[in-house]
Symmetry: C2
Subunit: 267 residues, 2 copies
């Protein structure tokens, strides 16, 4: 049976609240996801939260009932809280009525199944958690295997990332590595490294993309370092018509990824 | 000469701080933009802030000096503040060293120069200020005329929108209208209304886009209402390979807009 908890000072409540901070996520190895839709998607991927917090009105839905039963059967902790407590935990004024604390997966390159897909996104020093989540969501839509975060990126387990991913954090693979570790790993198997750059005349719409393809997306404000561009097997340029000379990182990833997918469809 | 202000209680400081709230933006008709890069881009578009706040270290750059002189010459108010005051105004821990309060432009459809471009984005009930900013930034890159916000959208003059637009708020046109006002306006001139939808077999890569083209992007969680889809001259579908059946609104706008631009390039 779920425990009923109403006190802000309860240790489980404190733990869940703490997961909005990167330090607590790192020390506990947990992260938060919210909402019946995303939690159900996680469950379809075989992922259950270790702790499930819900408000009474969030537990009415049959899928929520199943979720509670599944978490309890798996030995997880289910707690029922008033909505204002859930609100404190998620940091949202209008909290979702379900909140799960999940174990972070192994994000080492060694754990990545690179044969799972022929398309991967590689993000260099991405600093915006929302961008990381949006790239994961796009990766799911375009049939990518996942996202490899290079060097010092924002925490992919931030609440903002999970929200923006709309559940894709559970369907896309995720790895974190330094460039120096990534490069030998990449070259240990087949894979074309494709960078977007302003320093090439190769239009992204007319480029010889090869499978498997690893799309390298640069940091939001600096773009790719020259040394990283030099390692690419192919550089492509997205033409710009306006005053700006850059795109949002998630937009650049999406425009290129959809192009690669389309180019292959016509092979 | 710029005034030096150090007091949080100063009325100009209070006004600038208040502009993070929608109500204050509406009543004052002003909005905030930050950073030398964006403020310079605005100036190149002939837009100067009515109030310019800066920290001493932000005023060293020649472009900042020119900006201060230009604002003063135009009768604007220049104030020099300590960085912690700027931080309070922008709501950022690491504030940009320049902050401008700009007059909001007329966002009526009547003020829109629809002949300015052959490509426009129309957003229906967009709720995420970051998405609106990202769409403006993408619009600039793809040579769109601007963004028309339909029905009840997030405030396009929110600090988050201006930031995500990376200056495109000053280069792209912006209008706000109800659907009932937009539709007769659209039909009063040439224009193909194109919606993205799951309820069509028309692949977005193989669609007869006509200029001028108005790309209609639906709300982040609901997508386009059926009645709005029914008004479209063309519905296109972006194929999805994963578990998800939707894209982030800014991603959908970008993928489609780049496709339209490319299709026309080959005419």
């Amino acid at each position: 049976m779920p425990r009923q908890i109403t006190a802000f000072s309860n240790s489980t409540v404190k733990l869940l609240r703490s997961l909005r901070d990167k330090k607590a996520r790192r020390s506990s190895g947990l992260f938060l996801a919210e909402g019946l839709r995303i939690l159900t998607e996680a469950r379809e991927e075989g992922r259950l939260p270790e702790i499930l917090a819900f408000a009474l009105q969030g537990a009415q839905h049959p899928l929520a009932q199943e979720m509670i039963a599944a978490v309890e059967a798996a030995g997880g902790d289910c707690i029922e809280c008033p909505p204002d407590l859930l609100s404190k935990m998620s940091g949202k004024d209008n909290p979702q009525m379900l909140l799960g604390a999940y174990r972070q997966p192994d994000t080492s390159l060694a754990a990545l199944d690179r044969g799972k897909s022929d398309l991967w996104v590689v993000g260099e020093k991405l600093r915006d958690p929302g961008n990381i989540g949006t790239i994961l969501r796009t990766g799911d839509a375009v049939g990518a295997g996942g996202l490899i975060l290079i060097d010092d990126s924002a925490d992919p387990f931030a609440v903002e990332t999970v929200r923006a991913s709309m559940g894709a954090l559970f369907t896309q693979s995720l790895a974190q590595a330094s460039w120096d570790d990534f490069l030998p790993w990449l070259r240990s198997g087949p894979g074309q490294l494709v960078g977007t750059s302003l320093q090439t005349e190769h239009d992204y719409r007319d480029a010889p993309y090869e499978a498997p393809c690893f799309l390298l997306i640069g940091n939001e404000s600096q773009g790719l370092p020259d040394a990283y561009e030099a390692e690419c097997d192919l550089l492509v340029k997205i033409p710009m018509s306006g005053k700006a000379d850059s795109l949002n990182a998630a937009i650049a990833a999406a425009v290129t990824a959809f192009e690669v997918r389309h180019a292959w469809r016509n092979r």
